[in-house]
């Protein structure tokens, strides 16, 4: 679209840049395909990631509603389920096979497709060039490939739901031998093949994206934009990309060995196995635990791949809307760095009850609980950022505050689970479900919502409807707590995860009523997300138009671009940066853009 949009934008946009506008006019003429499909504009790719992520979020969320239906109403039957799911819900009751397939796909999709691709993919693509002052990514072509590999992964994953024995159903962590042997579980046949192919494609996408983000941040910052002047969003996205680039290949290697075990008769993970109806398998000498090490070497950094972008965006949005600088910028960067390093050193805390060497376990306890220190720094810095600010409750701000609340709630239970002696009791119970859903699932989702609401005007040049946004926020925050808070109690009763039905268990059947309550709230919260989606798509086309270039009075560079920036972002010269991004409320000025030169009599901070 280049710069036509700028010229057609309402008066006041672009302002002094407009004079430079016309000489860019005639080069690259874009077609529908090159603009919306195989686009190389980082902003369009970001939107592609976002909307694909939304589709997956709806599917993944719907899956959770379906399996919560089974958990909440194990005796009931819903004829309409059979209409949708066919043989997977014979007589209107979800079968165990279908239940486990839903649980597994929900996990895989939400962790990888929504909270990794949907979150990093969207905001790294959208914000990096805009906030560092670059016209696009280091390699727009690789960026485009990154999206299309993700798209291919999505198609393969989607297709796995339609094969004869169903999609993979052994849990999103896909531990062998269960995931390696079709004879041990029907979902470990074709469903698992497709799952592995989808995940391999996803790893490729993630690496192409990550390398690009790193290269862009390191090499393409505008004049004056030193690393310590970067907004915290960019720091967070930078560490996220580094984590991904270093850990996804390890996951990939784990998958390769799994593919070998499945298809070529090797015994990396298999040993001493006798399957009912098949007999003893020839494999000997493998270690099922090896896979877990390889998996969690990604799996744990993955948690931070999901969480760091949310932290970065929340930091930025909290500061902008408190009209105050973020408190402790360097401590924020330092704690992000500490978290990124520690993320690689704690993976075996997922394996305390696998029989790992107790000494090794103790090292992982120490390193795991160490993460609480940078996390505490972040929380206290966010709280101090609010202190004596002048808070504007934009929807983005509300979701950022919600993020902090959820991060505290879910982070504190990490102290329980990271302490191995306590983890023995709580491992693989509902306590774990509560912990990670709050801290990484819902909290990151809140970070993502905050980002969408905050940067929607920049993405589409329009506003979302505020009333709907506030409604969305309050229902989701209250609902999330109502769903996950009571689960801690189920965990304290030892109630195991991934059970289809608890009614035959003397120890766990006392929660039938609670399960019904949770399922009901889950459905309401899911409906509230549809409200959000409606608001989003309606506002893309019909929302109120943005009329000022910098609606929030924000310091960062994305608000110096025209209201509807074309490919290349700035008309004419890229602005030069003279200061950090957080001069809010300094010297009596409400905000001082990064592009403003430092005045002679300005106080230093």
């Amino acid at each position: 679209m280049s710069n036509e949009a700028v010229l057609h934008a309402p008066a006041g946009a672009g302002l002094h840049h407009e004079a430079h506008g016309d000489h860019h006019h005639e080069h690259h003429h874009e077609t529908f395909i090159s603009k919306y499909v195989f686009s190389m504009d980082h902003k369009m790719i970001a939107k592609q990631f976002l909307i694909t992520g939304m589709v997956w979020a709806v599917l993944g969320g719907l899956m959770s509603v379906l399996f919560r239906l089974q958990l909440g109403y194990p005796e009931a039957s819903f004829p309409w389920l059979e209409d949708i799911l066919g043989k997977w819900a014979e007589g209107g009751k979800i079968t165990p096979d279908a239940y486990y397939a839903l649980v597994t796909t929900h996990g895989t999709v939400l962790v990888f497709f929504v909270l990794t691709a949907g979150l990093s993919g969207t905001f790294a693509n959208f914000l990096i060039p805009l906030q560092i002052g670059a016209r696009d990514m280091a390699s727009p072509f690789m960026n485009m490939l990154s999206y299309w590999f993700f798209f291919a992964a999505s198609i393969v994953m989607l297709s796995s739901m339609f094969v004869e024995f169903g999609p993979f159903s052994g849990g999103w962590t896909a531990y062998p031998p269960l995931s390696a042997l079709a004879s041990a579980s029907p979902g470990s046949g074709t469903g698992m093949d497709l799952w592995l192919i989808a995940m391999a494609l996803f790893v490729v996408s993630s690496l192409l994206g990550g390398l690009n983000y790193i290269a862009t941040i390191l090499n393409m910052r505008t004049k004056g934009m030193s690393m310590t002047r970067l907004p915290l969003t960019i720091w967070a996205l930078f560490f996220t990309a580094v984590l991904g680039v270093l850990s996804f290949p390890v996951l990939f290697s784990g998958f390769i060995l799994l593919i070998f075990d499945r298809n070529f008769g090797t015994s990396f993970y298999l040993s001493d196995i006798f399957i009912n109806g098949v007999g003893a398998l020839p494999n000997e000498g493998g270690s099922a635990i090896l896979y877990q090490h390889l998996f969690w070497f990604l799996g744990h950094p993955e948690v931070y791949i999901i969480l760091l972008p949310a932290m970065g965006m929340a930091s930025e949005i909290l500061s902008v809307n408190s009209r105050k600088p973020i408190f402790g910028y360097m401590a924020m960067v330092g704690s992000l760095f500490a978290i990124a390093i520690l993320a690689f050193l704690v993976w075996a805390h997922h394996m305390f009850v696998t029989g790992l060497n107790p000494f090794l376990g103790s090292v992982f306890v120490l390193l795991t609980l160490l993460i609480a220190v940078p996390s505490a720094i972040k929380v206290f810095n966010w709280l101090t950022t609010l202190w004596r600010g002048n808070i504007r409750f934009t929807p983005g701000m509300m979701f950022s505050i919600g993020f902090v609340s959820l991060f505290i709630s879910g982070g504190l239970t990490g102290i329980w689970l990271g302490n191995s002696a306590l983890d023995i009791h709580l491992h693989d119970t509902y306590f774990v479900i509560a912990h990670f859903h709050i801290v990484m699932g819902v909290a990151s989702m809140f970070g993502m919502f905050a980002g969408i609401y905050h940067w929607f005007p920049k993405m589409y040049g329009r506003y979302m409807n505020n009333t709907l946004s506030y409604l969305h926020f309050w229902i989701t925050l209250a609902g999330a707590y109502m769903i996950f808070w009571p689960m801690h109690y189920q965990g304290l009763a030892g109630m195991p995860r991934r059970y289809y039905d608890y009614s035959v268990w003397e120890s766990f059947k006392q929660f039938a009523e609670l399960n019904r309550f949770i399922s009901t709230v889950a459905m309401i919260v899911f409906a509230a997300q549809l409200l959000f989606l409606f608001n989003f798509f309606y506002s893309v086309f019909k929302g109120r138009k943005v009329t000022t270039q910098n609606p929030y009075g924000s310091n960062t560079l994305e608000w110096t671009t025209p209201i509807n920036p074309g490919h290349g972002n700035w008309v004419g010269e890229i602005p030069e940066v003279h200061r950090w991004a957080y001069d809010y409320g300094k010297d009596g000025k409400e905000f001082i853009s990064q592009t403003t030169p430092v005045g002679a009599e300005e106080s230093s901070h």
Partner: protein, 355 residues
């Protein structure tokens, strides 16, 4: 029909919400956007406090309703598990304090520092003193938790006491097999390729004399009150997990790699029935590692009894060897030739002599 009705009602609610939201946007424009933005700000600032108060009440109410349904009121059924519980209370005290404190600060600040025309924000960008405080204090508190945790961890994962009885637990899709060493106090060797569901569910090697008196049972494991037990845990197929929530213990069952766990039961099953007031009470073994589509039904039972009852139970069990070779069972001896019976009898007398 109900489904249709629910869909229709939900749709209607959606439309109503949307119309109201749309209308409020028009009203905002009419009234002046800045004015209505400020109004919204006040409402949301107020709701922040409302949420805080209702949230804390909710936390209290949730505890009121659910606490009795957890395992905490009945306490740990193993001696070692008491340490888990005391650690749990300490961790709860620490994290609970931080939770309530930070949530109050967060939502209170949000309310208190909501936008107001007269407030001048404080340019407060960093303070090394504050950063140091909230680096050092969490670090110290965590060190305490780590030290306590690791002492327990090394106790739980350390060697079982010498007097401990030993039971082998094997998981399979979807049930549990238990093996006792029998009179000789030692387990015979096994090899998974010998497994045969009808007569040799663990793949014992019969050439190894030690297997001949091993006792094998399914679904129920008998333990003795007050006597430490060491479990040697394995799996026949995929990964399972021996989950003993009443004893606060848990350990994976991994094919090819034996793991162990030990603990000391404190109460018999009978005593627990009285203690909990639940006549159906059972110590259940739950599989805690996803093991296939019937994972949720993989249940075992632990029956904790006193020593006398245990001895009687064991004496009544016939060694698994005789299931594989019924003709060698002395119980069937009278019908068989003398020659066939000779060997087991000889073996049995040897063992009795030793004891």
């Amino acid at each position: 029909m109900t489904a249709l009705l629910i869909t229709a009602v939900s749709l209607l609610i959606f439309v109503v919400i949307f119309q109201i939201s749309k209308a409020s946007e028009y009203v905002a424009i009419l009234k002046g956007e800045e004015h209505s933005r400020k109004q919204n700000n006040k409402i949301n600032g107020f709701l922040m406090v409302v949420f805080l108060v209702l949230g804390l009440i909710g936390v209290w109410y949730c505890n009121e309703v659910l606490y009795d349904k957890t395992l905490l009121p009945q306490g740990s059924a193993s001696v070692e598990g008491e340490r888990v519980d005391s650690m749990l209370w300490l961790t709860l005290a620490v994290t609970g304090f931080v939770f309530i404190g930070t949530q109050i600060v967060l939502f209170w600040f949000a309310y208190k520092y909501q936008e107001s025309d007269n407030r001048k924000v404080v340019f407060f960008a960093h303070s090394n003193k504050l950063e140091a405080i909230w680096t050092v204090i969490p670090a110290i508190v965590l060190t305490v938790l780590v030290v306590i945790g690791l002492r327990n961890w090394f106790l739980f994962t350390g060697e079982a006491p010498k007097e401990a009885m030993v039971v082998e637990v094997t998981g399979k899709q979807f049930g549990w097999i238990f093996r006792y060493p029998g009179k000789d106090g030692a387990f015979g060797k096994k090899y998974y390729k010998n497994i045969d569901n009808a007569s040799n569910s663990l793949g014992l090697i019969w050439d190894d004399q030690l297997t001949h008196d091993d006792l094998v049972m399914e679904q129920t494991m008998y333990l003795v009150k007050g006597r430490p037990v060491k479990l040697i845990i394995g799996s026949r197929d995929v990964i399972h997990d021996v989950g003993l929530s009443h004893f606060r213990m848990k350990m994976d069952a991994v094919p090819g790699i034996p793991t162990t766990m030990w603990f000391t039961p404190k109460y018999t099953t009978k005593e627990m029935k009285e203690k909990t007031g639940n006549p159906d009470f059972q110590f259940e073994i739950s599989c805690d590692q996803m093991c296939g589509n019937s994972h949720y039904s993989m249940k075992g039972i632990i029956e904790v009894v006193d020593q006398a009852e245990f001895d009687a139970k064991m004496a009544g069990q016939s060694p698994y060897y005789y299931t594989a070779f019924p003709d060698k069972d002395p119980a069937n001896a009278k019908k068989d030739t003398v020659k066939l019976v000779a060997k087991p009898v000889e073996l049995a007398s040897k063992v009795t002599a030793k004891l």
